[in-house]
Symmetry: C2
Subunit: 566 residues, 2 copies
């Protein structure tokens, strides 16, 4: 970006066989100076589709985006759905590496056409434009069969909560690589968007195409069935978690002062399904390329007009549970606003909750929440503080009850009522994160008691390792959790080996691959100054019992520190 040049090259030997999070994390650990300014020219923004993206396999269209994160200076990978991973895969593009830094005030779009030709296009006319309007103009210019990754005003302001938004199959920028402030890195580089033509037809070769197609077909069937049978998330996907997690007393409410939300039923899957159906929206929407589970949705207003897409459990929680706003219309509007401004819905909701908890506004005040997000969108002084995240808002209001690890907000499972989630939040190199190793499936299936310390570390280790490996492939979370049984894993191994020409067994994947990725990430954090003391939940989780179970987080530091004993 410093000289506005584009170079194309083969993947160096040392990075071969890596994709997605594996590629971004290993490359960042190898190439990015561990103490450099995340918003300076030395940081690299690495965009990598999964190893299987762009093949005929279903549900493999996650795009991994990595960099040193603005929120704390640790390593970050954040992945998003949509269509861009498949589009890049079809072009045989393993990764896009954005280096250097444009002149202050300059703004560009990276456009990749269907022959794989790449160009940097001046984009100052789009300066400050919100993402929906922006993507609309881009699709008008480059055609509807374009995939867009872009930032909104928050990324241009370089806010640590800035997301990179990803367009879905309808061309709505409602999917997001939201966490860790990667939008700020993109903004600091002077890159408004990456626009990729979906018509590419030059994917990397498949080692054994016949075996691949057969196994991929089997796998599609397994994923579809398991999604319905095992994850209990169909229809309406992740929103199905509101009722069970709340009934388990683990739904962090009112800035994590309670584990159950008054009026939770107004924001549950059932309430949302009823509302959407009545109004003519879509409760089983396909958001990503070649998806068979259709976990997404389209939320519409009373007139049936589009409000937002992909309104997920984590957003319903952050904007509803944490803030006490039990109104789906307000939550949907907040979700849209964050997508449009380019903000992480989770950390933004938590920052609002921390402000409310400090007495700045009342819990449940939806109008105040919308105003706060709008301030971030306008870049006012207060908006900038909000955009700096929950920890900054906590400092601003002298509120130490800030549910973050490595300055990133926790997700929608209270560690005091689901102990293993606290292990994952504490130890993942990513900052508190729900996709890094989510134990909720084990609790729902009653395979693990969420309130007993026994087995939590082991389960978190297993899931974190597995997710680190699946994040290399481009497979989505829904598909990955459906593949954790040995039988399903075997079919997946056939797919992977047929693609790569490898002889991987269960020790190699997810095991060895996940460990390799996690080790690179831990090392990057260590070199950036992180120690085991950073692998800790905030004090209040240890001291303040959570109703209704009135338990505190009780995994010892020694156990926490043993999570990555490999």
């Amino acid at each position: 970006m410093s000289k506005k040049t584009i170079g194309v090259g083969d993947v160096p030997e040392r990075y071969r066989g890596l994709g997605g999070r594996g590629l971004t994390s290993v490359m960042i650990n190898t190439e990015v100076p561990p103490k450099c300014d995340p918003l300076g020219p030395e940081n690299k923004l690495i965009i990598a589709p999964g190893l299987l993206s762009g093949t005929s396999l279903v549900n493999a269209s996650r795009i991994s985006i990595g960099a040193k994160r603005p929120l704390t200076g640790g390593i970050k990978e954040s992945n998003a759905g949509g269509t861009v991973a498949a589009a890049l895969g079809r072009l045989g593009i393993t990764s896009i590496i954005v280096e250097g830094q444009a002149q202050e005030g300059d703004l560009s779009i990276l456009r990749i056409d269907k022959e794989g030709g790449a160009s940097l296009i001046p984009a100052r006319e789009y300066k400050g434009m919100r993402t929906y309007q922006f993507v609309g103009k881009i699709l008008d210019t480059y055609g509807k069969k374009s995939s867009v990754l872009c930032i909104g005003p928050a990324g241009e302001y370089r806010m640590p909560l800035a997301s990179i938004q990803s367009s879905d199959v309808d061309g709505h920028p409602c999917r997001a690589a939201a966490r860790g402030g990667l939008g700020a890195v993109m903004g600091a580089k002077g890159l408004k968007a990456v626009v990729v033509d979906q018509g590419g037809n030059n994917p990397d070769p498949i080692a054994d195409p016949e075996a691949f197609n057969e196994a991929a077909k089997d796998l599609a069937k397994i994923i579809k069935e398991e999604f319905v049978n095992v994850t209990m998330m169909a229809p309406l996907g992740t929103a199905g978690l509101v009722a069970p997690v709340n009934s388990m007393g683990a739904f962090p409410s009112y800035n994590a002062r309670k584990g159950m939300l008054d009026g939770w039923e107004k924001i549950s899957r059932e309430a949302m399904a009823e509302l959407i159906k009545k109004r003519g929206g879509n409760t089983t929407h396909m958001g990503c390329t070649q998806c068979v589970v259709h976990c997404s949705n389209i939320f519409v207003d009373e007139q049936g007009n589009y409000v937002t897409g992909s309104l997920e459990y984590e957003t319903i929680w952050s904007m509803g549970g944490m803030t006490g706003i039990v109104d789906l219309d307000t939550i949907a509007q907040l979700d849209f606003l964050c997508d449009d401004i380019g903000l992480d819905t989770m950390s933004t909701g938590v920052a609002i909750a921390v402000a409310m908890d400090a007495g700045y506004k009342k819990f449940g005040d939806g109008k105040a929440a919308i105003e706060m997000v709008e301030e971030a969108g306008k870049g006012t002084a207060f908006g900038r503080i909000l955009g700096n995240g929950p920890a900054a808002i906590g400092k601003h209001f002298n509120n130490t009850r800030v549910p973050v690890v490595k300055k990133q907000s926790v997700a929608a499972y209270d560690p005091r009522a689901m102990l293993g989630q606290g292990v994952t939040f504490s130890t993942t190199p990513m900052g508190a994160d729900h996709t890094a190793g989510n134990l909720v499936g084990l609790y729902l299936a009653q395979q693990l008691d969420p309130l007993k310390p026994e087995g939590q570390v082991e389960a978190s280790r297993f899931l974190q390792t597995a997710m680190a490996a699946f994040d290399v492939t481009g497979l989505c979370f829904m598909a990955s959790v459906a593949l954790l049984t040995p039988e399903a894993g075997e079919v997946f191994m056939k797919v992977l080996n047929a693609k790569l020409g490898t002889q991987f067994g269960p020790d190699d994947f997810p095991g060895a691959m996940g460990i390799r990725v996690l080790k690179a990430e831990k090392e990057a954090n260590r070199k950036a100054g992180f120690t085991k003391e950073d692998d800790r939940l905030p004090r209040f989780y240890y001291e303040e019992p959570l109703p209704p179970h009135n338990t505190v987080f009780s995994i010892t530091d020694e156990e926490i520190d043993s999570t990555f004993d490999f």
Copy 2:
């Protein structure tokens, strides 16, 4: 502070023989969890007079205050003049250790009477009060012979630029332990002030009183003479540096874009002396207990009314040079405002300069600078960002030209034109700091070429070690630099040995003592996550030549990293 209790005890064996910075740094490295929240209950605020404070020795009334610093989480010691160190020394108090944390909204004063009795007094009535009004009320209540350490609104807001102000011999809170945000630690603890009666008469015993008195008398003479002859700072103390440093092209101006300031002569010592004399102020004011050099001053307005006290070179630079405000009345007002609000004048001036450099206001706009400081005093959203320091302001305005190391602003010597100052700024565990090992005396005396790399690291190492040792004793900077010759050092050794009953030779002091202190500080930073990559100046010093010499900073990383090879 959590339970509002006061405990009194003997100095544990492991801390014996330490005072001032030695005591605060070793204790923090030993006792404070390296990754704890600087504004949380686990941090400790340690207030320690020097080993010689409270004796009959002149110029030994520096108070060291230490804690984990809010600005970056590293270790911090900041020392101030005034009267409180001597007052504590006369009571035989080695240190005050403030632990825990009061309830939100609670505020107390620690009062120590002349018998050494200590009590915590409710102080909510003083909430938000600025320091001059506050100290006035305290002196009315407890008598003029009280020494006060206190915070202003900035400390109560827990701003990382918040200072702890120290009252001078006239009872003005114009001296400050300003750097690193220790005022925020005090505010977070819920402590508004420490008030110490000056009438104590129970100092720690002197091992050999006769030898002590004789050597102390000799030393007083040396200090007084050397101050006049060697430091070239009399009269009007540090302000004497404006002309020579500017003429050497090392006076960082306009946010360090130039090394010489247009109109520097309007803010020089000569201009200030003329103004003060004409108006009836004081150009050789005694600010600290038992001072013989009288480096301080009292700045008055046209009517002869007090504006501010102790208007020092570093403040004239930060508020004048960096901002281009070549008007002493405005600078004096800014100095007063910072003292009154409880802000570090240096980092605040630099933060203003970074904002101006980003185009927020014009260089030279004194009114805008005053408004910015007032915003910090009122705690507006913008004021909070300013109070977060130059790095935060840089992020806010997307300006990467931020002259900080470890987020603390540099001092009034540009590393490109005085290379050794860059070595000290880079490597001192304190964040860029001018008292940690200031080479300006060597340059002025033409003992070292400021533009040649040779010898800079060695000189910085020698001075940093010496200052770390002198900071243990309570001796002020002016006295310390007068004692760097072997002859003067010998007399000082007699004083120290007579006080402690030791047989220290030149290897023990400053050598071994300084190294012990620095090692503890480096270790504390290492445990907090700092690496050698944090011992670096910002990139622009390496890339942007500084007029008029048009040189860049040219000490290699390897040389920098060898500074503390002991």
